[in-house]
């Protein structure tokens, strides 16, 4: 790749970060953490809209509402919020989502099958699939490769959505991290190719620029959303990754903004 001045190059694009968080990530060693720094870095790299689930949400369903309201006051309406569904407290989760979605800058629902130790195809998610289908809500799911040493990640195998989508074909799903491992991407791309309402984000620590071209060639345009997983990650890696990819600028703009804008009806 020819050398690029990333700071100059990124000015050509506007961005939606469809996978980020505020609050400290679980059990993570920060030297200094403040929410303001996350937002500052996002703005520096032209992120116009952030789709956020608060880190506390995965552990404290009620606490998330308070955290979101405070952040909304502090940071305004460029942040849209995913509310978390915990399948182990499904009634409470749905009640909180239903009660609060009109009171906050609501984006959709986030699930984390690994933290909640519940497989994606568990019946405990079924009430959410029904609710999301009825209300046309986008689901963002943490997904990970089963080719890993950590057995908890088996819960998040994105291919488990196969049976879910047979019953709920209209569900709109974002595969957070897209399975997370390079050696698993081919299977995930094949899966996405066969399901028109399934999208990929490459947030997180598996930063692999060649994957963008592969997805576009195999599954078509408009299937990738830009995501970072901040503050677990540093946005500078993800920006460089998209700008380094062997794709044209219209594809880059789709990834950075257009696909998420269309999916979430931000236009």
């Amino acid at each position: 790749m020819a050398k690029k001045n990333i700071e100059e190059e990124i000015k050509k694009f506007k961005l939606i970060d469809s996978h980020m968080h505020l609050g400290v990530a679980p059990n993570t060693l920060y030297y200094k953490y403040i929410d303001e720094r996350v937002i500052e870095l996002q703005k520096k790299f032209n992120v116009e809209i952030s789709i956020c689930s608060h880190c506390i949400s995965f552990y404290d369903l009620e606490g998330q509402i308070d955290a979101i309201k405070k952040a909304q006051i502090k940071f305004g309406r460029h942040i849209y919020w995913n509310l978390v569904y915990d399948p182990r407290c499904l009634e409470k989760s749905l009640e909180l989502i239903d009660k609060n979605k009109s009171k906050i800058n609501f984006a959709g629902v986030k699930i984390h099958p690994v933290i909640h130790e519940t497989k994606i195809d568990s019946k405990l998610y079924k009430p959410l699939w029904e609710y999301a289908t009825t209300n046309n809500i986008v689901i963002s799911a943490h997904t990970w490769s089963p080719y890993t040493d950590n057995p908890k990640q088996f819960h998040g195998n994105p291919l488990l959505f196969e049976t879910v989508l047979k019953e709920f074909p209209k569900l709109k799903i974002i595969l957070g991290h897209s399975g997370g491992k390079v050696n698993f991407y081919d299977e995930v791309i094949e899966f996405v190719k066969n399901h028109e309402n399934v999208y990929m984000d490459f947030s997180g620590d598996c930063i692999y620029p060649p994957v963008y071209k592969k997805v576009i060639n195999k599954a078509g345009r408009g299937r990738i959303l830009f995501g970072t997983d901040m503050p677990m990650m540093d946005i500078r890696y993800h920006i460089t990754s998209v700008l380094s990819a062997d794709i044209d600028d219209s594809d880059r703009q789709d990834i950075f903004y257009n696909t998420a804008a269309k999916l979430y009806n931000f236009n």
Binding site: K3, T28, I207, M232, D234, S241
Partner: protein
């Protein structure tokens, strides 16, 4: 801004002259495209199959002769201590272009502080020869809990040996071993390719100064642009960027006393 990449993996077999030549062209292009002026290459074969055969393959690639400022790192196991006269081994390795030794005790099933390793480290310390360790190779539980005591003993006993820790698997995001180790041991350094946490590089520079971080790409697992741009885009001053990108490792290598 120029870079010195200490974590560049080579997975070529080098069976034919054509393959060797192709590797030269490819590596030169990567170096040129990314302002990597100096590079230390490691054989993937030495990790996956056999340390000695992999190192030999790397040496026989002649990359050191064909590419300016390309050096080798050898992967070692304790076997090197009884298979060779280690003093002579180091001298020959240095003459052949080796500037770093790497150890993978979990992968290669040995105890990092056994009788042989103590002697290996002792000799390397006297020569101020740097080593690189992947902390996850000290994971005795399989659950990212590292045998830090053994690392402390190595650092305590070999104060003159620069020890560079890799940062693969996001270890330095989740564990709390690094800060106290860096506080205590001045011969400890961190290679940056896995420092993915928000502002992590800036935080380490603020807390420990820029002289404790060393540039590496972990190519081909991570493309070089990601690591070079992370430094270029970091919010630290230019001299700190230059220290991390090039000067720190260059200074360490300049202090080797091969004898």
């Amino acid at each position: 801004m120029k870079f010195f990449d200490i974590n560049f993996w080579i997975n070529n077999s080098f069976y034919s002259e054509e393959e060797k030549e192709n590797a030269v062209v490819k590596i030169k292009k990567i170096m040129e495209d990314n302002d990597i002026f100096n590079l230390i290459a490691t054989s993937q074969f030495a990790l996956d199959y056999d340390w000695n055969i992999g190192n030999e393959k790397l040496l026989n690639s002649n990359l050191h002769e064909k590419i300016n400022n390309l050096y080798y790192s050898y992967i070692l196991t304790p076997d090197v201590y009884f298979a060779y006269d280690f003093e002579k081994y180091i001298r020959k390795a240095f003459a052949d272009g080796v500037r770093l030794f790497r150890f993978f005790p979990k992968h290669h099933l040995f105890y990092i502080n056994d009788y042989y390793m103590k002697n290996i480290f002792g000799l390397l310390s006297r020569k101020k020869f740097p080593i690189m360790l992947d902390l996850k190779e000290l994971d005795i539980t399989g659950n990212k809990y590292f045998d830090i005591n053994v690392l402390e003993r190595i650092l305590d006993n070999n104060e003159e040996m620069p020890v560079i820790l890799e940062t693969s698997l996001k270890q330095c995001m989740f564990n709390r071993f690094y800060f106290p180790l860096l506080e205590k041991y001045k011969n400890l350094y961190i290679e940056i390719s896995g420092m993915l946490l928000i502002d992590q590089i800036e935080g380490y520079v603020e807390k420990f100064g820029s002289k404790r971080l060393i540039f590496g790409t972990n190519y081909p697992n991570i493309i070089p642009e990601l690591s070079t741009n992370r430094i270029l885009l970091s919010e630290i001053n230019e001299s700190d960027k230059e220290n991390i990108g090039f000067n720190n490792i260059n200074n360490i290598l300049g202090r080797i006393e091969i004898g």
